[in-house]
Structures are given as structure tokens and as C-alpha cells.
Symmetry: C2
DNA sequence: GAAGGATATGAGATGGTTCTCACAATTGCA
DNA sequence: TGCAATTGTGAGAACCATCTCATATCCTTC
């Protein structure tokens, strides 16, 4: 985490550093992000950087934490957590909220995705385990007779997660409609299957 | 592509360079692979490398091409292309053959995967469009009444592809059984859906 | 306004990368 | 064998990365 010196900085300077880091981490995965560019963009001297942070990892962790805070705040405000509906409805609503979020701050969303795609050991450590909540929802849906008892929740989440990862990543900001259409088709397939009965 | 000088090399030396490159590209994505390590492992002087190849990209393209040749040869020998069955059966058989291949040469398979995960512009250009064949199979299955007409083949392939990518990637060599179990569960979900009818 | 701790600063240390080039060695052929 | 063409060689150029450190400057408090 940042050193006290960083927190003592004037807001304007803190913001400049934060913005520069976000910009860099949004356009390069962690391993390829350059402190050189960050300090240049933020217009702070090299030495200063090490007054504020221990190293690149330190900065990255800080940025990730801040963006995560921002994301959960926004999702909470959108009231996404108390939707009644099955697994698919909830995930769909959440994605709509995330798309909205991305519209306001494309860089923020992009960092989260790069983080997922980057498979370095360090990044793996950072990646949280967010599947637990989804598993609970699926089990609940099984109990209420919406989802077949014999379905493996882990596989189901895995399918959805990998699908979202690649699609959200590939789809630019521009093509929200196409993303939603693809998503709905995928939900249909997972709900009903592809086989003719 | 390699310079003529490379092809004129003695087999032993060619093999040494090829092996060193495979080893490096199997353990690092393209952008992080180091020529330094490659020439060291291959035990060739720095200058020699540039007698054989234009640069790192040139070497990488060559390796990819060779491995692709190897892969298709092996799949053909396994007689994977003339299986009668639906989309899922064919893809399942092909994966079994690929797992076999990976057993013999883990590095080769790993390179193919790193290639898929690496999203640099250069790598994107290299990535072939292998979805066309799968689309044909799905359309055939629609005609023969196995798959619902209204299913979007692109989305179906996308779901499967992204699922495989992440799972094949995550699953080590050790856990073939678990991978197959997960795969079969995913096929079941895509075939029949998760909803209770 | 002087003292002293906190902060700012950027040159350069250090180590990594790709790639070049002048020359040495080897090979193939007349 | 002798000459020309091909190939081998490794030191180092050029660049870029992270990180340190001695010194300058600012800022607070008495």
C-alpha cells in the first residue's frame, strides 16, 4: 500500500498520479506497464514515485483496490443485489450495470479485464474468488425447482465466466447491442440446451 | 521465415535451436520471451541468430508453423476427421486426440495456448480462423434434425471455445480425468440445458 | 527568522532487452 | 592448393526498464 507521503499529497497531485496509473494499466497488462511512462504522464520526478510507493506492484495493488471500491459502490447504488430472479436474471442485470459503469469509465473496466487475462503469478494472487456468491444462487435455484438438481454448479459458472471474459474483452465499447444479443443467446442455450427433443 | 542459412544448418544444430525456442515460448508469452535465453540454451552465439532469422517475430512464426504442421499430422493420423457423430462427439474425440498429443509433447500444446491467451496485435494477426469448420458441422447437424434450427452457431462455438480455452489452460497435464469430467458436464449442459422442464 | 524534519529532485547505478558489425574461420569449387 | 563466398563469432551499441541516493527545497514550529 502507498506510503503516508502519498496520502499527504495535495488532492490535485494525487489525482494526477492516479489517473496516469489508470491510463497505463488500462493500456498495458501489469507485466508490460511502464513506470517510466506513468511518472512522465503524471509529471512527477522519478524519485518522487518511490516516496509514494514501494514499487510497481504496490501502485498496482492500490489502483486495483480503488477501482474495486468504485465498482462495488456503483453496483450497490444500482441496487443490483436484491433482484428476485434466477441465476441468469441476476447475472444479466449485473452485466447491464457493469456496461453502464464501463460507459462512464472505460479505463476502469479495461483494467479489471486485463487483470483477468494476465496470468502472471502476481496477478493470480490478486484475483479474488468471486464465484462463491454465484454458487449460492445456483444452489438456491436448485432448491426452488428452477435448475436441475444434477447440474454441476462449478461447471455452470465456469462456462458462463469464460464466455463473459472473452466476449466482454473482445467487444468494444461501441457494440453494446451485439454483446447483449450474444449474451441472451448464450443464456438461452444454457437454459434450454441446443438439442431437438 | 528463416533465412536460407538456417535451412543449410546441420540437423543437430537446427534441432538445438528449435528445441530452445520451443522451450522458451512454452514458458513465456511472446512479448516476454527472451532471445537472450534462447541463444544461451541453444548454445549459439548472438550473431549467429541473426544469420538465421530476421528477429524474434520471424523465429516465433516459424515455430508456430512447425507446431501447427505437427498437430495436424498427428490429428490426421489419429483419423479424427471422419467420425460420424454430432458436433459434440466430434469435438470430444478431437480433444481426446489433443490430450494424447500433449502427453507426448507438453511444450507444443502449451505454446498453442499461450498464443491464444496473448492478445498483442502481432499474435492476433497470427491466430488463425479455425471456427469455419465447426460452423459447417453445426449447420449439418441442424439439417439432420439434431440441433435446433434457431440456435446461433457462432454463439455456440464461442461458448465452447472460451470454455475450452480457460479449462485446458488451467488444467495441468496431471488432471486429465478431471478435465474430461468437466468437459462432459459442459456438453450435457449445452445439449440439454439446465432448466427443469 | 532559524532549526530541523519532511518532501522533492534527477542523475546515474544496475541489469535487462534486441540487434549490429568487423573480423575470423570454414567451406566449396576451379 | 588457392581464392572467393559463406558462415561463425562475441563484444558492444543502443535502448529501455526499475530503483537509489546525495543534495536541494519546502514547511512547520518555536
Amino acid at each position: 500500500m502507498p506510503k503516508p507521503t502519498f496520502y499527504n499529497l495535495k488532492e490535485e497531485k494525487k489525482r494526477r498520479i492516479f489517473q496516469a496509473a489508470v491510463q497505463e494499466f488500462a493500456s498495458h497488462k501489469f507485466s508490460e506497464a511502464s513506470l517510466n511512462r506513468i511518472v512522465k504522464t503524471a509529471k512527477i520526478p522519478w524519485g518522487s514515485f518511490y516516496q509514494y510507493f514501494d514499487n510497481k506492484e504496490d501502485l498496482y495493488l492500490y489502483i486495483i483496490k480503488e477501482l474495486s471500491k468504485y465498482k462495488w459502490d456503483a453496483l450497490e447504488q444500482a441496487g443490483v443485489d436484491n433482484i428476485d430472479g434466477d441465476f441468469f436474471n441476476i447475472i444479466r442485470e449485473k452485466l447491464i450495470a457493469l456496461i453502464e459503469l464501463r460507459k462512464q469509465n472505460p479505463d476502469y473496466a479495461h483494467i479489471a479485464l486485463l487483470q483477468e487475462m494476465d496470468d502472471s503469478d502476481f496477478i493470480r494472487k490478486v484475483r479474488g474468488d468471486s464465484t462463491k456468491r454465484w454458487k449460492e444462487i445456483i444452489e438456491r435455484d436448485k432448491k426452488s425447482g428452477l435448475i436441475k438438481e444434477e447440474i454441476d454448479a462449478d461447471v455452470m459458472i465456469d462456462m458462463f465466466y469464460s464466455f463473459l471474459l472473452l466476449n466482454f474483452y473482445r467487444t468494444g465499447l461501441d457494440d453494446e447491442e451485439k454483446f447483449m444479443a450474444t449474451l441472451d443467446e448464450a443464456i438461452k442455450i444454457m437454459r434450454e440446451g441446443v438439442s431437438v427433443r
